[in-house]
Symmetry: C2
Subunit: 575 residues, 2 copies
């Protein structure tokens, strides 16, 4: 029973659900539903899918996350970055607007769900750590730029295409002569209005005496106002006759039961994109969930989150949706609107289901330019390039990883960009560890403490060479130590004993062990003692199993000070 409860958190919070929580959850659900309708339509547009796919992707996935997820405030559904990645991945196997495109999006959601579920069951949540913070920040910023570029065509009323910034801009420029002036007016006004709502409305409301929380929620209603106003304008003034592209007919129905294609070829092509979408979606979702949970001192279980997101995506695959994840803006609205339990999500799903059945005819005259404006205003807040400056001053290797991620995301697309970021940060880390910092240390006078002879005033002993290697010894840097020791010994023939101070050596792998054996052998031949000090417990346990310690031409000292006392030519009176 406890096992079941572990995998189905609903059983946990469901037992203590109160009337008070119910009313708060219902209130939050109404607000979130209203906000989600235009957002879902907009993100479907961004993903290149029919508008209803965005609504469908917000219904069953939310319900499934409610059952399996651990966050009490996370709202699952289509989000900007994942929609962009979906468009890039599905665009490679089918043409936008075709049946194959919609079907491939289902398969992508199913595959991504299966991967998330598998990662959760096998407790592989730590894999997300391989995406460093700067790489994520860079990727999100670059995606924001790409998304903005991809939506400009709707604001301008022209047709353009492309997966990379250069292609998009080139395509926009090539079609610039076909700009539709009426669309442009709608698009630019909507964008300007939404920017004002975001930046100027909240202070104004607060000044008028509205509480900051309520004012915050009100600003989220901006897109709804823009949608209603521009839809009425297009309908009332007959602007479709002037070439304004509108959402058009959206089927009035509950999410349909769909079967994602399982053709091996399609699964093969979509596999890597699905991996990237899963990992990016998971990282985005878990950051949002942890930020919100920390505020209420609640706990998020990353592996259980994987199961919740996996179930949500599989749900999307079978109900006409596309890949989903926990979104930042919708979750924050949910939280600010007072959602107390995941039940708020279930009520939101109900609200969207009602909308899907009853309200879709109302969006017939909704201009695509308005949806594009809501996307642009939402994602431009993601474009924060300050990470470049921050990493430049703190750590050049982080900077290179971020810069590569941003550049390649813009120039070669999202998949190449984020993969390059991961590979680059791992490669730079390995490169750094391949040339470790090695300090020759001496005793800080009057203490038992040893520090770098080049940075501190310390006592040294000419017959003793103590090297502190500031890195684990493993295959990548093992030979480095061999070369270094050989150089030092050649320079200073008076050395009688070498001590390797292992306080920073967290591992000695088999390659390094072999090199230590070689060093020991060579030192023995020239009559120099080879000693170790401050070897950590786990490293020592392993060395005890090898022949190395029996062959060692010297001793292993618990502390460097013991070694100093035993081997130093200067004998110290008091310990």
């Amino acid at each position: 029973m406890d096992k079941i409860r572990e995998f189905v958190p609903l059983l946990d919070w469901g037992r203590t659900y109160s009337r008070h929580a119910l009313s708060n959850d219902l209130m939050a659900a109404v607000i979130v539903t209203i906000m989600l309708i235009p957002q879902s339509l907009a993100y479907a547009l961004l993903a290149g899918l029919p508008p209803e796919a965005g609504i469908y992707a917000s219904i069953v996935p939310i319900l499934l996350y409610t059952v399996f997820g651990t966050s009490r405030a996370l709202a699952v559904g289509p989000v900007a970055v994942v929609s962009l990645m979906t468009a890039a991945a599905v665009g490679e196997v089918a043409q936008q607007g075709t049946m194959g495109y919609t079907a491939a999006a289902l398969t992508l959601a199913g595959l991504s769900g299966a991967l998330l579920l598998a990662m959760g069951i096998f407790r592989l949540g730590f894999l997300a750590n391989f995406l460093s913070h700067p790489v994520i920040a860079g990727f999100i910023a670059a995606s924001g730029i790409l998304i903005t570029a991809s939506q400009l065509k709707h604001v301008l009323g022209i047709s353009a295409s492309g997966d990379t910034l250069i292609d998009m801009v080139a395509s926009l420029v090539a079609h610039i002569d076909t700009v539709n002036p009426v669309t442009l007016v709608i698009g630019v006004s909507a964008t300007a209005f939404l920017f004002w709502v975001r930046k100027g409305l909240k202070p104004t409301l607060v000044k008028l005496g509205v509480s900051p929380g309520a004012a915050g929620v009100a600003t989220k209603a901006g897109p709804v106002v823009a949608v209603i106003a521009t839809t009425l304008a297009v309908w009332g003034l007959g602007l479709t006759g002037l070439g304004v592209a509108v959402v058009g007919e959206v089927p009035q129905s509950l999410p349909p039961l769909t079967m994602p294609s399982l053709s091996p070829e399609l699964l093969g092509t979509l596999f890597m994109p699905a991996v990237l979408i899963s990992v990016i979606g998971f990282v985005e979702s878990i950051s949002v969930a942890q930020t919100l949970a920390a505020k209420k001192r609640q706990r998020i279980d990353p592996d259980q989150e994987l199961i919740g997101l996996g179930a949500a995506n599989i749900g999307a695959a079978f109900t006409g949706g596309y890949p989903v994840t926990g979104g930042f803006s919708r979750s924050v609205v949910n939280y600010d609107a007072g959602a107390e339990t995941p039940a708020a999500g279930a009520f939101t799903a109900l609200g969207l289901a009602i909308a899907a059945v009853a309200l879709t005819p109302l969006v017939y005259f909704l201009p695509k330019a308005t949806l594009a404006a809501t996307i642009i205003v939402a994602v431009l807040s993601l474009v924060d390039l300050s990470i470049l400056r921050k990493t430049w001053f703190y750590s050049k290797s982080d900077f290179y990883a971020v810069a590569t991620t941003i550049l390649l995301t813009l120039v070669l697309g999202v998949e190449v960009g984020v993969s390059a970021g991961v590979v680059m940060s791992i490669a730079l880390h390995l490169y750094k560890t391949s040339r470790p910092h090695v300090a020759e240390v001496g005793c800080v006078p009057g203490t038992q403490h040893f520090r770098n002879i080049n940075r501190h005033r310390v006592e040294t002993d000419t017959s003793l060479l103590t090297l502190r290697v500031d890195e684990s010894l493993y295959f990548v840097n093992a030979r480095f130590l061999e070369d270094l020791l050989q150089d030092r010994l050649a320079e200073r023939p008076e050395i009688r004993n070498v001590i390797l101070m292992c306080s920073a050596v967290n591992e000695i792998d088999y390659s390094a062990l072999e090199i230590l054996e070689v060093i020991n052998h060579r030192l023995k031949e020239i009559g120099v003692g080879f000693h170790l000090s401050e070897v950590k417990g786990p490293v020592m346990d392993r060395l005890k199993g090898a022949h190395f310690l029996q062959e060692l031409n010297g001793r292993v000292f618990l502390s460097q000070y013991d070694a100093w006392l035993a081997l130093g030519s200067l004998r110290h009176a008091a310990q």
Copy 2:
């Protein structure tokens, strides 16, 4: 001038060349030449190339290595593992025995040479360190098994094919009914004879009073004896009429001038194989060179070695050869035979050039079975699977990397095998660092030394939590620390101060810095101090540039003992 001398070591040793060295070098060259003739023919057979390619690959490459290489004993030419890798790579673009196959081998040599040269010029020799010792050992052992399997068809006198062990064995079994009995007799006798020469001859000669060195050289002549005896047998008894496959006509000529194809498609396909061949060849060559140099206290410059090997391979590409590297057996013979300078290599090249012009008609009746026997006996000594046992007992992660390398090399071929080994050892290393060892430490009584409370009898203080993280803090493990601290604080509400002992923290990257800021912020909120101790110089330099230290709700102590004195509730009388 010094710059030129750096890149052309010949100018260095050439100036002091003595008559004594000349006679030693000449003697060594005669011995090596005799040994190289059958070996070169055999490795060409292994690579699927016409026999003369093996001879050509030993002439100009040796000369170029003599000019650019740094090892005084290394003999460059075709070697077993690289020949096998050549067969696997070229077999993917052309059929054995066709013109395209020979041409692709030239391109592979050229590409590999260009890569080596580039790595040398950009001082990228350290990249070879990414191949861990156990992975190399496993790969060489598995290659030995593959090579043996690939040569069995010649011993049996049947035709078979395949790049993987399963394919080879299946193909052998399928053709087993066509075994040629006479070939089998020749092949088995040659193999048995060569095994005896290798194992039994040297002790016998030493017992008869021959010096061990000379006896060692004599055993290397075994293949020459086998070649002469079986060639005479086939010729004298007319065994070709009974279906014994022989080397046949070999053109009598100096190495021809050849142009490797530079078609982009071919270069693209051969790129990854060329990378692997370059790296494996370099690693094999440098190990041999360093082993021999250490015996005479000479120095090997890895980056210059890359240039030497690069030049040798480019030479092979333009003179009808195929990828070459420094070989173990030929270098050892060269060394044992008394070679003093790289000039010995030049004389060997001269000897082989004479053989190519004058002696090739003599190998017409040389049975392929004899060549296969020389290969099998040579490579079986490489098959040392003890690395599996050794790594199993020392380090499981090294074991998994080796086992994967061996298994995949046998089952999926050399390229997949060695790539998987590299990826696996890096992934396992990262995995280990993602869950670092963290020890809570206390003071070893009477000293200023701090050790793990679970391993040593130490003094502790309930209001103080000192954690020593045994790993650099970077993106892969940053979140781990956050979770761990949160758990510890929840368990022990009496903690007033947290000290992070950084003696093993060799780096704090930007992701980890952000996490430290989060931890500092949370601890400040609950009124717990956050301190660092024993921060290394390079880490401290970087932290000073960040805001973190200004915001720190605590202090940075030079030594853990200082922190213990300042923060502990137990005040210590004497320092």
